[in-house]
């Protein structure tokens, strides 16, 4: 049912008394059957993942495709992939807020939600990878902070905490709105709204907190992915031990983050019919940002592989040719196509930078970035320095199951969040509307001859 309210979002009149953004609450009020069906379906996928994981716990990691030289595989690749996507949220919404870009208003919450969910999934993946999961607490009782893995634990938990705070604080006004509208379960909203009543003093506190978090989140986000690249860069393996890994992974993370955000925006726009809020003016700058990141990513990849090739070190060359012409050639060239050719071709022409084009480009980038992680992790392990047999790695059903479980958890997270909280920040839209009207008024007045001498 197409929204019948004729009033366009930029209607005049103060927003305080009359509330038009019913579309944004559609996901909450009309949850009903569709929510339950999708939730149960996705929950079944996750349950399948858990059954496979139980098999891995009982029999051991032998059920996976991992073997003697290639000790790491899907779990570590997915760990880096999910944490990579987490950069969509906080980083982009933080930067956009910092730069006062008006078109960020409907995007920031979606981005922050992606971050929180994906961080939870990614952060859990190393536990799936452990040979003895029940000894995970050893990290806390007898941990060694000197190990890059521990740097990861601290930086991911810091980032998780910062991004949840950064998600929660801007949601307080919306939660209060839901509390006031009496949406079920009432006690939840009352509890979470922390007594928000919209008084100017509360607004001022909120603004101040958001600005602090904005500044805090950006360095943490950058540090998280450099530290994840340090897991690989700190070893002596050929193909890993290179200085460019830090920035390369951050660029890769932002790149895959924007792509994931675009995919989520397009999908939610379609499902909850938010096309009145997510218009081309929102998609176009993000698509240009994606194009820029694609070029930047290509630049970093090119310089990494050129240094490896030009250096002609035997062990590096073995890994290099393992990717270029060896068993990993399809994955490597698939990655280059998905990350560079498709996005650049689609996004550099205005005509194709439409929503369907953007969707294709960003899905390609998400797949490309997953392939990139696979290309980094497995070939270096498959080519040992000493004359061992070249390793191979074929993921088993369990690993594909866990990957599907991870994606399922991502979808479930979004569906549940959408069920309880608005996916687009309502108060920011309204604030934007008032600010926009006030600004345009002032700007137009500044063009017109001054009406009265008093208005300085």
């Amino acid at each position: 049912m197409k929204s019948d309210s004729s009033a366009s979002p930029v209607a005049h009149g103060s927003a305080a008394d009359e509330f038009q953004d019913t579309d944004l609450l559609r996901s909450i009020e009309e949850a009903g059957i569709r929510f339950r069906v999708t939730a149960t379906l996705v929950f079944l996928v996750i349950l399948g993942g858990w059954v496979l994981f139980r098999r891995q716990i009982l029999h051991g990691l032998g059920v996976t495709g991992l073997n003697q030289p290639v000790a790491w595989g899907f779990y570590i690749v997915n760990f880096v992939f999910f944490i990579g996507i987490s950069h969509a949220g906080t980083l982009i919404s933080a930067i956009l807020r910092l730069s006062q870009a008006e078109w960020r208003r409907p995007i920031t919450r979606m981005a922050e939600v992606i971050t929180v969910i994906v961080l939870a999934i990614g952060g859990f993946h190393p536990v799936l990878d452990l040979g003895r999961p029940e000894r995970m607490m050893n990290i806390f009782t007898v941990g060694r902070l000197q190990s890059p893995l521990l740097w990861d634990v601290t930086s991911i938990s810091a980032y998780f905490m910062a991004s949840t705070v950064y998600l929660f604080i801007p949601m307080i006004p919306d939660i209060a709105l839901l509390r006031d509208r009496g949406v079920r379960p009432r006690w939840l909203y009352a509890f979470l709204a922390w007594g928000w009543q919209g008084t100017p003093r509360q607004h001022q506190v909120l603004e101040k907190a958001i600005s602090i978090m904005m500044i805090l989140v950006i360095p943490i986000a950058v540090s998280v992915h450099t530290v994840i690249s340090y897991i690989f860069a700190m070893t002596l393996q050929p193909g890993w031990h290179s200085t460019i890994f830090g920035p390369y992974f951050v660029v890769g993370a932002i790149f895959s983050g924007i792509a994931a955000l675009l995919v989520v925006m397009i999908v939610l726009r379609r499902i909850f019919r938010l096309d009145r809020y997510l218009k081309d003016v929102h998609f176009d700058p993000l698509a240009k940002l994606l194009l820029l990141m694609s070029l930047l990513w290509f630049y970093f990849t090119f310089s990494e592989y050129l240094t490896a090739f030009f250096g002609q070190e035997p062990s590096e060359l073995r890994v290099f040719f393992h990717k270029f012409s060896g068993p990993y050639a399809p994955h490597y060239w698939g990655m280059v196509a998905c990350n560079f050719l498709i996005p650049v071709l689609i996004l550099s022409f205005r005509r194709s930078r439409r929503i369907p084009g953007i969707l294709i480009a960003s899905i390609a980038v998400v797949i490309g970035m997953w392939l990139e992680r696979l290309n980094i992790v497995v070939p270096s392990l498959a080519n040992p320095r000493l004359p061992y047999p070249t390793g191979f790695y074929i993921p088993s059903l369990v690993e594909w199951g866990m990957f599907a479980g991870g994606i399922g958890t991502f979808i479930l997270g979004f569906v549940v969040f959408g069920r309880f909280f608005p996916l687009i920040s309502i108060w920011e839209i309204q604030e934007g509307r008032e600010k926009a009207i006030k600004e345009t008024l002032e700007r137009t007045q500044s063009y017109l001859p001054s009406v009265s001498a008093s208005s300085s």
């Binding site: 999961p133 029940e134 035997p314 073995r318 061992y388 047999p389 191979f392």
Partner: protein
């Protein structure tokens, strides 16, 4: 009060598991089987010396026991043969001992044709009845025995058992190749090669450090006991770039079967440049120069034969190597102070094996390497108490079942039994002791059919292997750790050594040593056997035989307190090292140290080494001439006797040179484009090695392939046939086909496919059944005209792809650098 460790663990496992769970399940993931093997015992360790029974190498072992349970096997550092060294199969001894598929008791085939467990008493009574039936019947020789015994004492006991029953049909199917040494040197056994003092070893086809009769002794003697400076210089000529070949100072890649030609080429260089031992050749050899035989004819000498026919270019063309290799090898061989030439491996598995070895042994004669430290020695037989002759029953002249006129001198017992696969062999009762010919011999399939037609086949084996599963009775024998066992000087070893060891543990199951069973049968058969085999049990027999050793007073029990040279030094000065303190003390020492040895060095008189009529090393073999003339007159179609024999046997030599060392081209059967050559890696030593999961896992340890049979191909051959490293291919001959994994081996010879022996069992134990493939299934054996032994390296096979390498897998062997 030895509580079996198993019961302790079960009882303990239960309590520990509950305790483990009780500790609020911190390790709930740990399966109870993984609970620490906390012994209730005090953990007291002791070490026992014994001798390895898994192959004929006779290495001395030290078994470590904790609370009377053997937990580890290592080499006995004081044993003169292996000096503490041990091969992978030896260390898997415990895995053979504890193998779950070991036979628990005797089995008998019921009329329904299936093997059922049966009690010892009943089975022995039945066999004894059958034996006395054959003995009293007209043809006692229809009772035959195939036996492969590492020790001469056990072989003599078995021989005495057959003789007392009036039969001479006893044979060791896989006996060492003795014919060439009998023809040239007149010895009954393979001479000993004194590797401990040689400074240059020239090996033809024999991978000294992997194959042969005692590889660990070879390593210990040439490398282990030497300082780095005085390590032996190894020259190696073979068709395969084996690890030994890579270890050798120089390796020449020659065409398969052309080892004799290379040796003659080297002999040519020695003679032409006069670098041979003139004095030794003049005084101690026959047939070197022209000589006139008693019929007054002028006969061709070895010198002229060499100079005319075996110049380096022709030899290089035959062998497929460079003339400079032939000349280089010959000069280095001559310059060495104590060189010795040895043949083995693929050189003795071909149809021209006897000719190859004669040619190679001639090199030793040319440099006079006989009865000299580092050369060829003849260790005298170990002075056991001689057994009185078996009372005559007047029917000894009946020929043994195994003799057949297929070959000039001897004949292959398995071929005699197997026939063409359809005839019934002339045998009523057949004992097969500690050997598995159905698996190991190329004629295995035909032998299997023949065994089914023999009324009574009794197999002595610890596992139900291919041969035993065809037998009517299976009498389970002990693994060497469970019983008294001995091993005497292995062939080609120059030191007299006797390994004799008591059981380390009591038998796990209801099994006995084959010697005990024979003595038990003798007692049951009654009069002729009971008196000639009077011993209560096998240790009693061993004790009786060893008394002679103590009286002879030579050598010493392995005590390790004196170095070998010390013992020699003392004996030369009349000090009898062994204070004669009575037999019991000697027996107790011998059993505790599990060995006796006598560093029999050179005897001082060369002629003692030659048992030929002329008392000399015969280049021109009189024995061969006599037998060929006999064959020629009997079968020759009117030609001169020698020429008749030559045409009869299809030899390439002319009448003059047939009795001299000359080159006979290797026989080729089948039409494939690849020449199939077999080799035995270190992990394929002995028949029981592949029972152990560890040995199977590290089977191809230097090519990263375990649990599979591989074929080594050169890069060009693999490129021609479009095979990659790791592909599965099938090698086919008219007899069948086997599947192997391709390993592209750098330095392998084009057109040659090397396949390891040792796998492809169809029945031994559950772990190794169906693993890999047995190359002897595709071998089309050509016959060695003189010795009659089947050749393993004469088949040409066709190769085609079965399936590509699925994924990753081992790198091409050039290591990718």
């Amino acid at each position: 009060m030895l509580l079996r460790r198993r019961e302790f663990m079960k009882m303990l496992g239960v309590t520990a598991a509950t305790a483990g769970l009780g500790a609020c399940g911190r390790n709930w993931l740990v399966s109870d089987r993984m609970v620490q093997l906390a012994l209730r015992g005090p953990g007291l360790e002791r070490e026992v010396q014994t001798v390895c029974g898994l192959c004929e190498g006779g290495c001395g072992l030290t078994v470590k026991l904790v609370d009377d349970i053997p937990v580890g096997i290592k080499g006995n550092p004081r044993h003169p043969l292996n000096r503490g060294g041990i091969c992978p199969v030896g260390q898997a001894g415990l895995e053979v001992l504890y193998a779950p598929e070991r036979l628990r008791g005797p089995m008998r085939r019921d009329d329904g044709g299936t093997l059922r467990p049966a009690p010892w008493e009943e089975v022995l009574e039945q066999i004894a009845a059958r034996l006395s039936e054959v003995h009293s019947g007209g043809e006692p020789q229809r009772f035959a025995m195939l036996i492969d015994a590492p020790g001469r004492l056990f072989y003599e006991l078995a021989e005495r058992f057959t003789q007392v029953l009036g039969s001479g049909s006893i044979a060791n199917p896989f006996e060492a190749e003795t014919l060439p040494y009998m023809l040239t040197q007149g010895t009954e056994t393979v001479p000993g090669f004194d590797l401990a003092h040689a400074d240059l070893v020239l090996s033809f086809g024999l991978d000294l450090f992997e194959d042969g009769h005692a590889p660990i002794h070879a390593i210990a003697a040439t490398v282990g006991t030497r300082t780095t400076e005085e390590r032996v210089l190894l020259l190696h000529a073979s068709s395969r770039r084996s690890p030994t070949a890579s270890k050798a100072a120089q390796h020449v890649n020659i065409r398969p079967g052309t080892h004799g030609a290379l040796a003659l080429g080297m002999a040519h260089v020695l003679v032409r440049e006069g670098r041979y031992d003139r004095r030794f050749v003049a005084e101690h050899t026959l047939g070197f120069d022209e000589w006139t035989d008693d019929a007054g004819q002028q006969r061709l000498g070895f010198r002229r034969l060499l100079l005319e026919n075996y110049y380096p270019d022709r030899v290089a063309q035959i062998c497929g190597c460079e003339p400079s290799h032939v000349i280089g090898f010959a000069r280095r061989f001559a310059d060495a102070s104590a060189p010795v030439a040895m043949a083995g491996g693929e050189a003795v598995w071909g149809a021209n094996a006897t000719w190859n070895v004669i040619a190679i042994h001639a090199l030793n004669a040319l440099v006079g390497a006989f009865d000299r430290a580092g050369g060829v020695l003849l260790p005298p037989p170990i002075p056991f108490t001689p057994l009185e002759p078996v009372p005559r029953t007047g029917r000894e002249e009946l020929p043994s079942v195994f003799t057949s006129d297929a070959a000039v001198f001897a004949s292959d017992p398995i071929e005699a039994l197997a026939g063409d696969g359809s005839t019934t062999p002339p045998v009523d009762v057949l004992f097969i002791v500690n050997t598995n010919p159905v698996y190991a011999s190329p004629a295995g399939a035909r032998l299997r059919a023949a065994l089914e037609r023999i009324p009574t086949v009794v197999a002595f084996a610890p596992f139900a292997d291919e041969t035993a599963s065809v037998a009517d009775f299976i009498l389970p024998t002990n693994v060497f750790l469970e019983s008294w066992h001995e091993s005497t000087t292995p062939p080609s070893v120059s030191v007299q050594v006797l390994g004799l060891a008591p059981p380390v543990v009591e038998p796990l199951f209801d099994t006995r040593h084959a010697g005990d069973v024979l003595l038990d049968l003798a007692a049951r058969i009654g009069e002729p056997a009971a008196s000639t085999l009077p011993w209560r049990d096998y240790p009693d027999y061993l004790k009786h035989r060893v008394q002679g050793l103590e009286k002879a007073g030579q050598g010493t029990v392995i005590s390790g307190s004196f170095e070998e040279s010390w013992v020699r030094f003392l004996e030369e000065r009349g000090w009898w090292f062994l204070a004669n303190s009575g037999f019991d003390k000697f027996w107790e020492d011998l059993v505790r140290q599990a060995g006796w040895w006598n560093p029999a060095g050179p005897r001082g008189d060369v002629s003692q080494l030659f048992g030929t009529e002329s008392g000399r090393y015969e280049f021109y073999s009189r024995a061969l001439e006599k037998r060929l003339v006999e064959l020629g007159t009997r079968r020759g179609r009117g030609q001169a006797p020698l020429q008749g024999a030559i045409t009869e046997l299809g030899l390439a030599a002319s009448a003059d040179e047939v009795c001299l060392p000359h080159y006979e081209p290797p026989a080729e059967t089948g039409a494939g484009e690849l020449s199939l050559q077999l080799f035995r890696p270190m992990t394929a030593r002995g028949p029981l090695g592949c029972v152990s999961p560890m040995v199977l896992e590290m089977f191809g340890y230097y090519t990263f392939s375990g649990w599979e049979t591989w074929v080594e191909l050169s890069e060009e051959t693999a490129h021609e046939l479009d095979f990659h490293d790791g592909d599965h291919v099938a090698l086919e001959s008219e007899r069948g086909s086997i599947e192997c994994v391709v390993r592209i081996h750098p330095g392998a010879q084009p057109g040659v496919a090397h396949v390891p022996l040792g796998l492809g069992h169809r029945a031994l134990n559950e772990i190794c059944t169906g693993i890999g493939s047995n190359p002897t299934d595709v071998v089309v054996p050509a016959r060695d005209p003189l010795a009659g032994t089947p050749s393993l390296t004469s088949t040409r096979v066709q190769a085609h792809l079965v399936r590509r390498r699925e994924h990753g897998g081992p790198p091409p062997m050039h290591g990718g650098h």
